[in-house]
């Protein structure tokens, strides 16, 4: 059992409080996932040609200033570094692969949790109230965000095993369910060059979607292909730079509710998370159909 939430503003309006609203939704999903909490926020874009890298270190004594100096020597920094809890967000001019390669050699204890022009990913062991406060979610702004509360049924309870999983540029996935063919799929994807940081099944789903999209598929096409290739139970919420998508497997025993108003689209494992949003009582509320891709895109 896990809890998933997602919030997507259809257009920019003054006063939108993405982070505060997502934190409220996550808090409602505490009982569904008390092991760990994570979220991805699609906020202000990095300067042209630069990317934001959400990095994590398991070493609590890491000196992020040293990391900044070392990273800055390898890649031009393009904005101030922000340190939050065990995470730091760097703005730098680097390709995703180049950064991951450099870290693997020079700072192997540092993990990339998110990389892209807009995405920032934070995740940690603990309840939503604690984790969202630790990483300052309330104050974050942006166009859309996804969150997850985890009750682990598969693989360890660690920060690295928490959701969201991001395996591609500006792409992340949160998952409620369990995949049964993830080991074989992980092997196949690894042969194609997809890198995995954990033995977690949901990370394989994220890697699968990233791989499909790198091959040229749209998000919708990648998800539709996933209906064939991903075996198991799932409700997925997926974020891209400008988009937001939901998919449930054909059996659809993992719950999901969607809500929509003129201002927002929201997804949650249970309606009570959507009920916290302004205008929820007037929203159109429905349950996404099995094996059907729901996709919203900002243009």
């Amino acid at each position: 059992m896990c809890g998933i939430v997602g919030l997507f503003f259809k257009q920019d309006r003054p006063g939108q409080q993405l982070g505060r609203l997502l934190a409220g939704m996550l808090a409602e999903m505490s009982e569904r996932g008390p092991d760990s909490t994570g979220f991805a926020v699609y906020g202000d874009g990095a300067p042209d040609g630069a990317s934001k890298a959400s990095l994590y270190s398991a070493d609590p004594n890491i000196d992020w200033t040293d990391v900044e100096i070392a990273l800055g020597a390898a890649f031009p920094l393009a904005g101030p570094t922000r340190v939050l809890g065990s995470h730091a967000v760097f703005v730098l001019r680097a390709g995703e692969t180049a950064l991951r390669d450099w870290l693997a050699v020079n700072l192997p204890a540092v993990r990339v949790f998110g990389f892209g022009a807009r995405i920032e990913v934070f995740k940690d062991v603990g309840l939503p109230a604690a984790v969202t406060q630790r990483y300052g979610l309330d104050a974050r702004h942006g166009s859309h965000a996804l969150g997850h509360t985890r009750m682990a049924t598969e693989s360890a309870v660690t920060t690295e095993h928490s959701h969201p999983f991001s395996t591609g540029v500006d792409l992340c996935l949160v998952h409620n369910g369990s995949l049964s063919n993830h080991n074989r799929l992980r092997q196949n994807l690894a042969r194609e060059g997809v890198r995995f940081a954990t033995d977690n099944d949901s990370e394989v789903a994220a890697g699968y979607l990233s791989h499909r999209m790198r091959q040229g598929a749209s998000l919708r096409e990648a998800l539709e292909a996933g209906l064939v290739d991903l075996d198991g139970f799932y409700t997925f919420a997926v974020g891209t730079r400008d988009g937001f998508a939901i998919l449930r497997d054909a059996i659809a025993c993992k719950p999901a509710v969607l809500g929509e108003t003129d201002d927002w689209v929201a997804m949650a494992t249970e309606y009570r998370a959507i009920a916290t949003l302004p205008g929820a009582d007037k929203a159109v509320i429905w349950e996404p159909r099995p094996a059907t891709v729901y996709h919203w895109q900002r243009h």
């Binding site: 659809a252 025993c253 719950p255 249970e270 009920a275 916290t276 009582d281 509320i285 099995p290």
Partner: protein, 222 residues
């Protein structure tokens, strides 16, 4: 319920004596809470304004529960008697394993509606999702719209009436002839449910009774 926990509400309802004069209860701001008005045993009417979460009116006995909104998973699960009505849609497993009473869903019900039903009557104004009436043992499921895949899989003696299309029938579920007696029964249920539909438009589905006992010729179907 913006200020009162569901436990407090349910405790008050559970403490009502069988001859209570507090016959009408109104619940506001349910905000998707779970187990609202579950476990009622006295003939009161509980009206809930807004969407409820899981297991609303579960195990209901004699009470009438009306949800003016949508309901989450497991609406009226194991209902024994009384009436549960939802003006919107219901999520999966509505009226699961219900023993008696009437469940009315004015909108759609999603997957597994009436799973393992054991005597409850269910009337759905809209459509139902896949695997509905799975292993249904007794009772009647009336669907004014369409039914999803694998309707009535492994069904026993529950009866299903669908006015619209059926995506597919589950194992051992077959279409059966409709007689005047069936039409009369459907009409009576629609009237009790206050759902407007033409009783003559329904087709009937039920068990082929080939999975009741092991038979080697049917081994592939088990």
């Amino acid at each position: 319920m913006a200020t009162v926990p569901v436990r407090t509400l349910n405790e008050r309802l559970h403490r009502l004596p069988a001859d209570s004069n507090d016959l009408l209860w109104r619940v506001i701001n349910p905000r998707g809470a779970h187990a609202v008005a579950a476990g009622l045993t006295v003939p009161v009417q509980v009206e809930i304004d807004g969407h409820v979460g899981y297991y609303c009116a579960g195990m209901n006995e004699r009470a009438t529960v009306i949800v003016r909104g949508h309901a989450g998973t497991g609406l009226a699960e194991n209902i024994m008697s009384g009436v549960v009505r939802v003006t919107g849609n219901a999520s999966q497993s509505a009226a699961a394993s219900g023993r008696g009473g009437l469940v009315v869903i004015e909108g759609d019900a999603s997957a597994r509606c009436g799973i393992s039903m054991k005597g409850v009557d269910i009337v759905v104004g809209g459509s139902i999702g896949h695997m509905s009436a799975f292993m249904g043992q007794a009772g009647t499921l009336v669907v004014c719209g369409d039914a999803g895949a694998d309707l009535g899989d492994s069904i026993y003696e529950a009866e299903i009436f669908v006015a619209g299309t059926v995506t597919s029938l589950g194992a051992d579920c077959v279409e059966k002839p409709v007689t005047d007696a069936h039409r009369t029964r459907v009409a009576a249920l629609l009237e009790r449910a206050a759902i407007a539909a033409d009783a003559g438009a329904f087709r009937r589905y039920g068990s082929a009774r080939k999975l009741y006992h092991f038979h080697v010729d049917h081994a592939d179907a088990y």
